[in-house]
């Protein structure tokens, strides 16, 4: 009897350990950057926010992409949005773009946010959190700088600032 109870308890513990381990975010991008390497950006294809079919990260190959994961309810996202819009304008004729990914958000609220901050850069909608998993996103906002070869050149887990954009994006343009 005690052996059976022990076996079931061990089984439950193993299940708990599996659940905890499988929830760990993917940090391979950060590890590659720490080694001075640029990992290939994961494939990402999502619907355009508000309709108009899908768009893929691969569509932007050859450009510098500032891939920004955000949501309308996220306060730091509001603070960094004007900066991202300025940089989008600045990069537009130099082969660069900001690409927004609205994560797990209400579409109407997201569109209101875009209108409020007059954001003109392309936006995708990550309805199921696929992009979050692919890029190991765990907080809002997070930004990945992707070079012209489709490799991740920098990552910012938290809001970006002018210093980050100057030091990580400008050299790629």
């Amino acid at each position: 009897m005690p052996v059976a109870v022990l076996c079931v308890l061990l089984g439950l513990l193993a299940l708990l350990a599996y659940g905890l381990a499988s929830n760990d975010p993917d940090r391979s991008v950060d590890e590659a950057l720490q080694r001075g390497e640029r990992a290939q950006a994961p494939g990402l294809e999502l619907p355009r926010l508000g309709g108009g079919g899908n768009a893929a990260l691969a569509d932007y190959r050859g450009q510098v992409v500032v891939l920004n994961f955000w949501a309308s309810w996220c306060k730091p996202c509001k603070e960094e949005s004007p900066l991202l819009e300025r940089w989008h304008q600045r990069m537009a004729d130099r082969g660069g773009t900001v690409l927004g990914v609205d994560m797990l958000d209400v579409t109407g609220d997201a569109q209101e946010f875009i209108a409020d901050y007059r954001l003109t850069y392309p936006m995708l909608k990550d309805r199921d959190g696929d992009g979050l998993e692919a890029f190991g996103v765990v907080q809002y906002p997070e930004t990945f700088v992707i070079d012209r070869q489709g490799r991740i050149a920098a990552v910012q887990r938290g809001p970006v600032d002018e210093e980050f954009m100057q030091s990580r994006v400008e050299p790629l343009l």
């Binding site: 009897m1 309810w73 797990l104 579409t107």
Partner: protein, 153 residues
Amino acid sequence: MRRLALGLVALALVPVAAAARDCPQTSLGDIEDEVMCPVCGTPLGLASEAPQANQERAYIQRLVDSCKSKDEIKRALVAEFGENVLALPGDEGDDDLGDVLVYLIPALGILLAAAGIAFALVRWRRPGGRRGGPPPVSADGARLDDDMERYDL
């Protein structure tokens, strides 16, 4: 003529009254225990004051106010957040293993607890199961007895 006009007005008001009776068809409280807060990873009802949870509640409330049924609201939530927003096992979604485990694990827990209690009871009732003699009278017990005798009226 006047009666006819009154009758027509009454007839016209019947669907309005029926619609008013049926609306709202559900409530935020009724739904928030059956859906997830996808960012928090918990049922919405447990997600307290997280901003994403508050946004989801506001969205549900807008749908409730616009007289959507519970099923319609759940479908709208799936359209916004994907099928993982549904908290009830067996709701839409393809996590069959998860649907089974969510029932299996609590059942196993109950079985284990029942087995543990039964095991303890059998050992306790078995002759010699209770080791040692009657519990010693503690100092507190003796003092209490003395006090009771002293103040016995």
